[in-house]
Symmetry: C2
Subunit: 294 residues, 2 copies
Amino acid sequence: MKHLPSRGKKQTMKVIRSIKAMSGFSSEAAAGRKIGFVPTMGALHAGHVSLIRKARRDNDAVVVSVFINPLQFGPSEDFRRYPRDHASDAGICRAEGVDVLFCPSAQEMYGPGFRTFVEVKGMSDVLCGRSRPGHFRGVATVVLKLFNIVSPRTAYFGAKDAQQAAVIKRMTADLNLPVRIEVLPIVRGPGGIALSSRNAYLGDNQKEQALCLFRSLREAARLVEAGERRSSRIKESMRRIISGCPQAETDYIEIVDPRTMKTLKSIGGGKCLVALAVRVGGIRLIDNVTLDVK
Amino acid sequence: MKHLPSRGKKQTMKVIRSIKAMSGFSSEAAAGRKIGFVPTMGALHAGHVSLIRKARRDNDAVVVSVFINPLQFGPSEDFRRYPRDHASDAGICRAEGVDVLFCPSAQEMYGPGFRTFVEVKGMSDVLCGRSRPGHFRGVATVVLKLFNIVSPRTAYFGAKDAQQAAVIKRMTADLNLPVRIEVLPIVRGPGGIALSSRNAYLGDNQKEQALCLFRSLREAARLVEAGERRSSRIKESMRRIISGCPQAETDYIEIVDPRTMKTLKSIGGGKCLVALAVRVGGIRLIDNVTLDVK
């Protein structure tokens, strides 16, 4: 147990790069101690920090993984240029009292002969899955692998990736994984922009335009508050706001059941997820809000 | 730890039917004690018993599951008539010193909204997978679920289902499962027939005819021993033996790499798996032999 600091006590953070060393740490730590796990693709921002802090508060040990998972990027997507900054990520983790920063290599994660994939059918081919075929298969597969390596009691995900969170919750239940999934609220920057590692791609003017995502969600909430229940009307108003931005191009605007991702034609009688993806100057951004409509 | 008998000590076997109770047993047992696991579809025979005995020898606790997995049967297959005999299975397990007989229900294993599947690509659509589409997806998915529920240190499988064993080994490696896979030799009855729960379907005359599977494998071994290296010639001789049996109809005869299930046109330089499936009076039987050819 010597690697595990007691709660709040400062100790050197370990950076682990091999799968074997990581699962070795976890099996030592597992004897009655709770591991909180925050899987990330790095380029850590305040959204990730909110997950790390919650993990720190509620567990004996905190593991953060940084792994830019090739399996969840399409051939024409931004895998190569995705922001990478190990020094900054390590600094943030150290400051937040993380016990282990786990940075496996793609070579080890997907060794020779790798051919096993997890599919969450019917939830993976809508919304983001429609424009990113194979994306959620890649997400589910890597998250399952990381769970098996890290053995967390609880894993923490951000609500910005609402579909990802729903897919992972479904997989966890369906496969009887001994892991609790916690989804924490979106952290927003000035003007309401949802924090995202991909915001780093945006120029100043584009950042301004990117605020249209949050504005359209606020408009959706306002309409629902005013009594509107027809999804088509809400989406129409949102689309109008997006079209007002010359550099913005809507990928999708959907209103769905937040657990199943099934389209809702009208809302009411429970929670609904209003989600959208918009390209701003070619950069694909996503955002969402969950509304609880009685 | 009170549920766990020390090695060899007789104690009452528990029959567990709920997933929660099973994982509860395992998390109590897990603290440093080794669980050996034998997943089965019941109708236990001497082949299963060989797995249970090995599990008993090498572990602190032995769990046998009996679950006739609907997900691995095709729509026109024998799911409904598959042999079921709980009393006999329980008697065998009790006599072999099994600690837990786990018999979950299909309702609980595949609850409402279930939609997550594991696919081992490229190994699941050849041999048995060609005539049983979706079969290995069903096998991989249920085995992963059972591993997560039972938390074994080691799981035991029979070599008769060679492709199943290869698929499970691949899945275990690819998904970083903390489980060792052990594959034990085929147990054979009089005349060399491979023991199988499906042999119960055979009449006396069909049982006689079913010996052609083993006879053809013995012929393959003889030919290889005599220097034959061409798969086509070996398969031809095997096919001739099968055709000699009026009630037997070949589904496939293949010679493959035992790890990848890739077809080998010629053999030599390592292990090869000679595998076949034959319908005898409509009952689909499988058998195989692994040859190590320098």
